[in-house]
Amino acid sequence: MAGEAGHVHRLTELLRENADVLIGRWVESAAASTRGRSTSAELERDFRELFTAVLPVASGDGRDLSGNGYAEIRSLLEELSRTRARQNFSPAETASSVFALKEPVFQLVDEQNDQDLFRQVLGFSSLLDALGLWTFESYSRARESIIKEQSEQLLELTTPVVKLWEGVLAVPLVGTLDSARTQVVMEKLLEALVETGSEHAIIDITGVLAVDTQVAQHLLKTVVAARLMGAECTISGIRPQIAQTIVALGIEFGDIATKATLADALRHALRREGVDVVRRGDGVKR
C-alpha cells in the first residue's frame, strides 16, 4: 500500500500529526448535514475510528477497494451505513459524511504550499471518492436487507389463525395473495386444525383487493387440503365487486360454502357444530 517504497508518505505523516484538528473540523462540517440526528460526540467517536483506519491506506488511491489492505475501513464504513440506514438517513447524507473529510484536508495541504503534498492529496481525494461510493453501496445493501426483513415479518404478521369458537378457526386474509403468502396461510391453517382439533375453518377474504384465477386456485387448494384432514372450510367476506368479477372470470367454487360476511360464516359453522345462538326471552339486557 505504501506508494513510494522507502519514502515516508508525506500526506500520511501530515494527517497523523494533525489528527485532532482534522477530526474536529470534519465533525463540524458533517454535523451540519446530519441535522442533529447524531450528536457531535457520536460523530466524533465514529470519525476518529474511521480516521485511524484511513491513515494506513491514505497513500493508496482506492482503485481496488476489495483488496485486503482496505478490509478494516470497509467494515467500518459498512457498519456506519447500516446504522445510518436504520436511523433513516438518506444515502446522500451518509456518503457526504465521508466526503466531508476532503475540505479540512485540502485546507491543511493548502497551508503547507508543497508540490509533493499536492500530488498526494489528489490521490487521497480519489480514495475518498471511492470510499464514499462504497458507503453508498453498503447503504443500499443495508436498506435492501431491512426491506427483506420487513416483508418477511409482514408475511408472518398478516396471516394469523384465530379461534372464534370451540372447534371453529378463522384466517382473515389482507392484501395481496401470492404463492408465498398462500403457502404460509395453508400451512398455518392446517397445523392449527390439527393442534386444536377443530372441524371448521373460515377463510375471510374481506381484506383481499382482487381475486384472480391464481388467488382462487390457491383458495380452492387450501379448502381441499383442509377437507382431506376432515375439516370443513367456508370462504367469507366476498364483497359485491369481487362476486361479480369472479362470475365474469368464470371461476366456480363448486360445493364450497361461501358467505358474504364473517358473521354469516360463523353462524353457519356454529349451526354445523350443533350450537344455536338465541336471544334471551325475557328481553332484559344484563
Binding site: T176, D212, T213, Q214, A216, T245, G250
Partner: protein
C-alpha cells in the same frame, strides 16, 4: 398515482405483476371507474400480466388513459416476445390451459373488459390490449 400519460412497466417477476396491478388501480381510480369496474379491470390486468410472465417469459405493460367522444377509459397492453399462441381458439376456450392454471385467465380477462385485442405470432410473441370505459 396521478400520472395520466402512458406508463411503461417491466414484467419480469411476481412482484412486477403486483406493481402493474397497483398502477392500473391508480389509473382506474383517477378516471373514477366504479368499484366493480375497477375490480374487474384490475383482475383482468392481473391475469394478463401473469400470462406475460409465465407463458411469455416476461415482457412489459403499458397503461394509459384514453378518451373517446368525451368518455374516459383505461387502456392496458401487455407485450412479450415469447413463443406466441399457436391455437387462439383453444387458448380462448374456458378451462383450457397450456400450463397448470385454471384455464380461465385469458378467456376470463376478455369477459372482464370492454375491448379486447390479441395479436400473436408463433415464435415472435404476443400483445394483448384491453380497454375498460367509464360508464
Amino acid at each position: 398515482m396521478t400520472a395520466s400519460g402512458p406508463e411503461e412497466l417491466p414484467i419480469v417477476s411476481d412482484e412486477d405483476v403486483v406493481r402493474v396491478r397497483q398502477a392500473v388501480r391508480g389509473y382506474a381510480q383517477q378516471v373514477r371507474l366504479s368499484l366493480v369496474d375497477q375490480t374487474k379491470l384490475v383482475t383482468a390486468t392481473s391475469e394478463l400480466a401473469r400470462n406475460t410472465l409465465v407463458y411469455g417469459g416476461g415482457g412489459s405493460a403499458r397503461i394509459e388513459v384514453v378518451t373517446d367522444n368525451g368518455r374516459e377509459g383505461i387502456r392496458a397492453s401487455f407485450q412479450d416476445e415469447g413463443p406466441g399462441i399457436p391455437d387462439l381458439t383453444l387458448a380462448l376456450a374456458d378451462g383450457w390451459s397450456s400450463g397448470k392454471g385454471m384455464g380461465l385467465g385469458l378467456s376470463g380477462a376478455r369477459r372482464l373488459v370492454d375491448e379486447f385485442d390479441l395479436d400473436t405470432e408463433v415464435g415472435r410473441g404476443t400483445t394483448v390490449t384491453v380497454v375498460k370505459w367509464k360508464r
